[in-house]
């Protein structure tokens, strides 16, 4: 009796097992397994606050040395990780089979990446960043210097520890809570490739900053990077929803800067704790899809007054359109509330583009008149919002002209024609009788 019960239990367990190990799915977009590549295992200790924040949020971190020959992100065509954190700025070559192409393939298949560089950034890290649309300063000795918004310090006088507070304006990327304290940054700057429209500055340098070697005089040439063109931390959201964060500073993840107090030069506000922890934690929540993931369901349309979806519309019909959009909150799907979801009625170009109104519970709806042009149209929802995954929905629907019997009848203007015809017919009938039988 007990044995079959046990076997049954085991069978149940086995059937549950794939559910447990499967991670990044359409229904649960948050990452689970993350590979962390380090230059040195001592980073585990010196950056432990960052790692413990990830662990406490349920991530399964796998630490490896960047030159560990056993590194593999893929086995039997399946990726073993959902995210990759490269805290190995000086690594020239990864161990194992991983290389730049491997990392890019990883991202191309929808996985997430965090890259941190510093003043010793290797070509490998620079190449990975360049592929993501981020160009680090080519001068290997250059770091970001800012004489106007540095962090006041009694021991560091070269103004390379920067107190940056020019954040990206997006609640979904950096969380609802405003980051009050400036973020401490010490490292190299990068610029965004203007040809890449996916990459965004998450943390920008101030207008007075520039990228140079602080211990040597500037040459007569202006520095290649200066002012707000310098991005300190950039994020990318690829079309496949893979997210990438690139930081020019490894130190900004460290316990030392997480805990450090900060006072920006020229400001009297002194903060007990820098904004680093909040900034990095919130950004990592976004990177690992704890936020900002949308899904759209129940795309519907019908004629006004009907509920069935027709196979075809006639020109000038009045129709109703609705779609439901939900947002991943890290643990469940909650209604997405926004005022800028738009629908297009599209054939080669949009004929109608209308903003949808929402009921606050995820349902977006509108109604409009079908244009007086017939052909094969599409309902299109192209929803791109800063920080959210993009939605691209389309549904094809033909539009036909009036049938011959659907036109207006008994037009007053045509009465003379009708009168002419019928008087002629009546005349003919009378005439035929009179002509034949007149005596």
């Amino acid at each position: 009796m007990a044995a079959p019960k046990f076997a049954f239990l085991l069978l149940n367990l086995i059937s549950i097992l794939p559910l447990l190990v499967s991670s990044f799915s359409v229904d649960r977009p948050t990452d689970r397994r993350i590979l962390v590549l380090l230059d040195d295992l001592s980073l585990k200790s010196s950056h432990s606050l960052f790692f413990s924040s990830l662990k406490s949020r349920g991530f399964d971190l796998d630490f490896k040395l960047a030159d560990d020959p056993a590194i593999a992100v893929k086995r039997y065509g399946q990726y073993m990780y959902d995210g990759l954190i490269l805290l190995s700025p000086s690594t020239e070559r990864f161990g194992g089979s991983l290389d730049v192409e491997g990392v890019l393939d990883f991202v191309d298949s929808g996985h997430d990446l965090i890259v941190a560089a510093d003043a010793n950034a290797s070509d490998l890290i620079r190449n990975i960043a360049a592929e993501c649309g981020v160009d680090f300063d080519e001068d290997p000795s250059a770091v970001v210097v800012d004489h106007s918004s540095y962090a006041v310090s009694e021991t560091e006088g070269d103004h390379t520890l920067i107190a940056a507070d020019d954040f990206i304006q997006s609640d979904v990327i950096l969380g609802n809570k405003k980051i009050e304290a400036p973020v401490l940054f010490k490292g190299i700057g990068h610029s965004l490739n203007p040809a890449n429209s996916m990459v965004l500055k998450a943390l920008s340098a101030s207008p007075s900053s520039y990228s140079t070697n602080p211990s040597s005089k500037l040459s007569s040439q202006p520095p290649s990077l200066y002012g707000t063109a310098i991005s300190l931390v950039s994020v990318v959201q690829a079309r496949n929803a893979a997210r990438i964060m690139i930081s020019g500073s490894l130190d900004m993840f460290s316990n030392r800067l997480f805990r450090a107090g900060v006072q920006k030069s020229g400001s009297l506000n002194k903060y007990e704790k820098s904004g680093n922890e909040q900034f990095i934690t919130e950004l990592s929540k976004w990177i690992f899809h704890e936020r900002g993931h949308l899904k759209a369901v129940n795309l519907r349309h019908n004629k006004v007054g009907e509920s069935e979806e027709p196979s075809m519309y006639r020109i000038n019909d009045d129709l109703e359109f609705s779609v439901e959009i939900f947002e991943w909150s890290g643990s469940s799907w909650v209604p997405h509330v926004s005022k800028d979801v738009q629908v297009q009625f599209y054939m080669m170009s949009p004929y109608v583009l209308k903003t949808l109104s929402t009921n606050g519970k995820g349902l977006y709806h509108t109604s409009f008149k079908v244009p007086d042009v017939y052909g094969v149209f599409q309902f299109k929802v192209e929803y791109q919002k800063l920080g959210y995954t993009s939605l691209s929905l389309s549904k094809q629907i033909p539009v036909r002209p009036f049938k011959h019997n659907e036109y207006e009848r008994f037009i007053t203007t045509a009465f003379p024609y009708y009168g002419a015809s019928f008087s002629m017919m009546a005349g003919f009938f009378i005439f035929s009788g009179v002509y034949l039988y007149n005596k």
């Binding site: 230059d39 040195d40 001592s42 200790s45 010196s46 210097v145 004489h147 106007s148 009694e154 021991t155 560091e156 006088g157 070269d158 390379t160 520890l161 304006q169 965004l192 203007p194 040809a195 429209s197 207008p207 007075s208 520039y210 211990s215 005089k217 500037l218 040439q221 202006p222 200066y226 063109a229 490894l250 316990n255 030392r256 805990r259 004929y351 109608v352 209308k354 903003t355 244009p371 007086d372 042009v373 919002k385 800063l386 049938k403 019997n405 009848r409 007053t412 203007t413 045509a414 009708y418 008087s423 017919m425 009546a426 003919f428 009788g433 009179v434 034949l436 039988y437 007149n438 005596k439």
Partner: protein, 782 residues
């Protein structure tokens, strides 16, 4: 590995300073807060076990005698189960938790944190349980005794005695270094903790030699004889074990053995690694039974071993002072470790280094609370000299020996004694030397002992070089912006500027003119100052930036964009307290048209916010309805159109038209009537077709009626033209799709039956019968 660590440490810790002039601060308040945080985190597991242990403690309180306890347990079954579960949990937890407890307690003790009270009870219960248990391994005894050495639990000598015999038993059976370490360590701790138990080793020489046999020629040790890999971590463990053997040995151990040990120690120091900033550490390449050991744990292990050896020998070990100081700097340079274990290793090693019992070996750390000194605020240069754990050193003075200009070898030799401020415990340089202006300097300090005897007690590492930034407010004067005529250099426009301050100049210039911006910078002591950053930025309306460093050779590459340029000036330096960035106004530039081959402005990055967000709405513009004349006009025309008809009728009346010739006979009159009815029917059909709404009038009525009428009038169509007609009717029906509203053709059959070709259409619908009826007539003769 070592290379990476070096890079990392250099980057993280000493990036600001040049390698020779790194500043290491002694253990500070932040270590204490980190310790409280980290160990309370570690207490997550340790707090849980404490709870379990607490319940055991309660059980033990109820049954203080263990034998009695077990007999009672045997009798009370529920309690038995509960007790056994608790025992099992406590056994698996105590092993790790006692070690963690010790690490926490030791760190707290060294840092002077009084946090013991809340865990004393539970930990003591755990210690007592481990010592009384017969199944514990020597490691458990060792950990329990270690915890007890700090907590000083109230334990009876019975427990100690039992532990001693067990430890000795395991010592006799020991063959690996770890076994020796735990057994000997346990015995040493026993000896310290209880005078009642007489702990001594009779065969100390044998044990000493068997541990020594695991040593390598380079001073490192192997963990056991089967493992060929040697490590520094094992060396530290071995040194501690050997020190234990020496202290326990009765009679005293052979002096020659101690001498070899001393040599081993020195050899171990030969293998030490060095960073460029003067720190030393023991690297660990070996990854073995103990898992990966970081340099911190390996160095800490060696330091513990050296301290233990130094404590038990009366001989001078001749430890290299600079390396001891380098080790101390290494541990301080780590900063605040993020893991509890690393923090324990760091703090424990530092306390070992501070308390090392060798006369000339206590490292002293010279540190500066602030290395950024403002001459404007009249900051004083303060130097603190303390031991690694931050306790003040004995009477000494600090002399400023030399000052180097950063980046050059030129040094000004100054021999100035710093004044000691007893209240703050700092040595203060009250006034900076006269020749020091703003800039970066390397100050070289030396520690001088008032009492030459003390010189032997400490290692100071000679001169300490510290990078100091002297900052100040830079005076800006004679600022002006001038437009010069190209050839003659004559001044066309001249505007004074207040820097820093609000400026709003409006200039205009063409490509033949020159723009000159000039200002003087003077340091507080009146010297000219050359800032690191002096940018003039001209920003075109289209947000194309231009940046100039050289103010005299200007305006070449504007991409031929004429228009308004905003001028922005940035002046900054790390030693300039009033670095500024401010707009100066604008200049209206009139530039020639771009030649064809001129470079285009580079693409500007798109504004991320404009890419997102809603697009402008699009509404379809519908066709206007056709223009129609007024209703009245149509009706008037209707009247006009009907006039001829009424005229015709009037004419007939006028002509006295009649129907008197209508046939009277039955047959002709019937045919005449039928003929006229036929015409009337056709006309009526037209009228009906016009009048009836087609959605109700199934169009099949029309062809059906037509065909009916045609057959009625002309008889069946036997010609091929007739079939074409039907085909056309069907085509029209299909094309207009009106038939389908009432008929769905399922099948169209054409077949030959005798001489007749039959076209048969079948389907469903309201009009089907009529349609079939109509089509049945079309039998075409072949």
């Amino acid at each position: 590995m070592a290379r990476y660590l070096r890079l990392l440490l250099l980057a993280v810790l000493v990036l600001a300073a040049s390698c020779e002039s790194a500043v290491f601060s002694p253990v500070s308040e932040s270590h204490r807060s980190a310790a409280l945080e980290l160990f309370s985190l570690a207490d997550g597991s340790y707090g849980r076990t404490a709870l379990v242990q607490y319940s055991i403690a309660c059980l033990l309180c109820i049954f203080p005698d263990t034998d009695h306890y077990s007999t009672l347990l045997a009798k009370t079954i529920p309690l038995n189960i509960c007790g056994l579960t608790l025992l099992a949990i406590s056994l698996c937890c105590t092993i790790s938790s006692l070690e963690e407890t010790y690490e926490a307690l030791k760190t707290f003790k060294v840092l002077g944190i009084e946090k013991k009270h809340d865990i004393t009870t539970s930990s003591c219960a755990s210690v007592a349980h481990t010592l009384k248990s017969t199944s514990s391994a020597s490691k458990d005894y060792f950990q329990a005794l270690r915890v007890n050495s700090i907590l000083k639990c109230d334990l009876n000598s019975e427990a100690f005695r039992g532990t001693e015999s067990k430890l000795k038993g395991s010592l006799n059976g020991a063959n690996s270094l770890i076994d020796f370490y735990y057994s000997i360590g346990g015995l040493v701790l026993l000896k310290e903790q209880t005078p009642e138990v007489d702990v001594h080793l009779g065969d100390a020489d044998r044990i000493f030699r068997s541990i020594k046999a695991l040593g390598q020629s380079d001073g490192r040790w192997r963990l056991n004889s089967n493992n060929p890999e040697s490590s520094n971590n094992a060396a530290g463990i071995a040194l501690e074990a050997l020190a234990g053997v020496i202290s326990l040995a009765t009679p005293q151990i052979d002096n020659s053995l101690i001498t070899t040990l001393k040599n081993d120690l020195l050899k171990l120091f030969d293998g030490i690694e060095r960073y460029d900033d003067g720190t030393y550490y023991f690297d660990e390449k070996h990854v073995g039974a103990l898992g990966h050991q970081s340099p911190i744990s390996a160095s800490a292990s060696v330091v513990r071993g050296i301290t233990a050896v130094a404590a038990v020998t009366s001989e001078n070990l001749n430890l290299p002072g600079d390396k001891i100081l380098g080790l101390a700097k290494f541990f301080l340079g780590v900063g605040i470790p993020g893991s509890a274990q690393d923090l324990y290793h760091q703090i424990d090693a530092l306390s070992c280094l501070e308390n090392i019992r060798q006369v000339e070996s206590t490292p002293l750390i010279l540190s500066l609370p602030a290395t950024v000194i403002s001459v404007t605020k009249k900051d004083q240069l303060k130097v603190r000299v303390s031991t690694v754990l931050g306790s003040p050193a004995r009477t000494l003075s600090v002399r400023l020996m030399q000052i180097f200009v950063s980046g050059s070898k030129d040094a000004s030799v100054i021999d100035q004694k710093l004044k000691f401020n007893a209240v703050s415990g700092m040595h203060v340089l009250e006034t900076l030397p006269k020749n020091i202006d703003v800039g970066s300097y390397v100050f070289s300090f030396e520690i001088i002992f008032d009492n030459p005897e003390h010189k032997k007690a400490y290692v100071t590492g000679g001169r300490t070089r510290v990078l100091v930034d002297i900052t100040g407010v830079i005076k800006i004067g004679n600022a002006e912006i001038v437009i010069l005529d190209g050839d003659h250099g004559s001044i066309e426009t001249q505007k004074k500027l207040t820097l820093p301050g609000g400026n709003d100049v409006a200039l205009s210039a063409n490509h033949l003119q020159k723009l000159r911006l000039s200002f003087d910078l003077t340091t507080p002591s009146g010297n000219a100052f050359n800032p690191h950053q002096a940018f003039l930025k001209l920003r075109h309306e289209s947000e194309v930036d231009h940046i100039f460093l050289d103010f005299l050779g200007l305006v070449e590459k504007f991409f031929y964009l004429s228009g308004r340029y905003d001028i922005q000036l940035t002046v900054g330096d790390s030693d300039m307290e009033n670095s500024f960035l401010q707009p100066l106004g604008y200049v209206e530039l009139d530039l020639p048209d771009a030649p064809e081959k001129a470079a285009r402005p580079p693409p500007q990055p798109v504004d991320p916010y404009s890419r997102y967000g809603p697009k402008p709405e699009i509404a379809h513009i519908f066709r206007d309805p056709e223009k129609r004349p007024a209703k009245e006009l149509s009706l008037v025309f209707l009247g006009l159109v009907l006039i001829p008809f009424f005229g015709f009728l009037a004419g007939l009346v006028q002509l006295r038209a009649n129907l008197k010739n209508f046939p009277k006979a039955t047959v002709p009159s019937t045919f005449a009537l039928l003929f006229h009815l036929g015409i009337a029917a056709v006309l009526a059909l037209y009228a009906l077709f016009w009048l009836k709404d087609q959605s109700q009038l199934c169009l099949t009525h029309f062809p059906c009626t037509c065909i009916l009428l045609l057959t009625f009038l002309f008889g069946p169509i036997y010609h091929t033209e007739g079939t074409r007609l039907i085909g056309n009717v069907l085509d029209v029906c299909w094309a207009q799709d009106t038939i389908s509203s009432c008929i769905h053709f399922v099948q169209v059959k054409i077949y030959v039956k005798g001489p007749i070709l039959i076209l048969r259409v079948s389907g469903t619908g309201s009009c089907l019968k009529r349609a079939q009826f109509a089509i049945w007539f079309y039998r075409v003769r072949v």
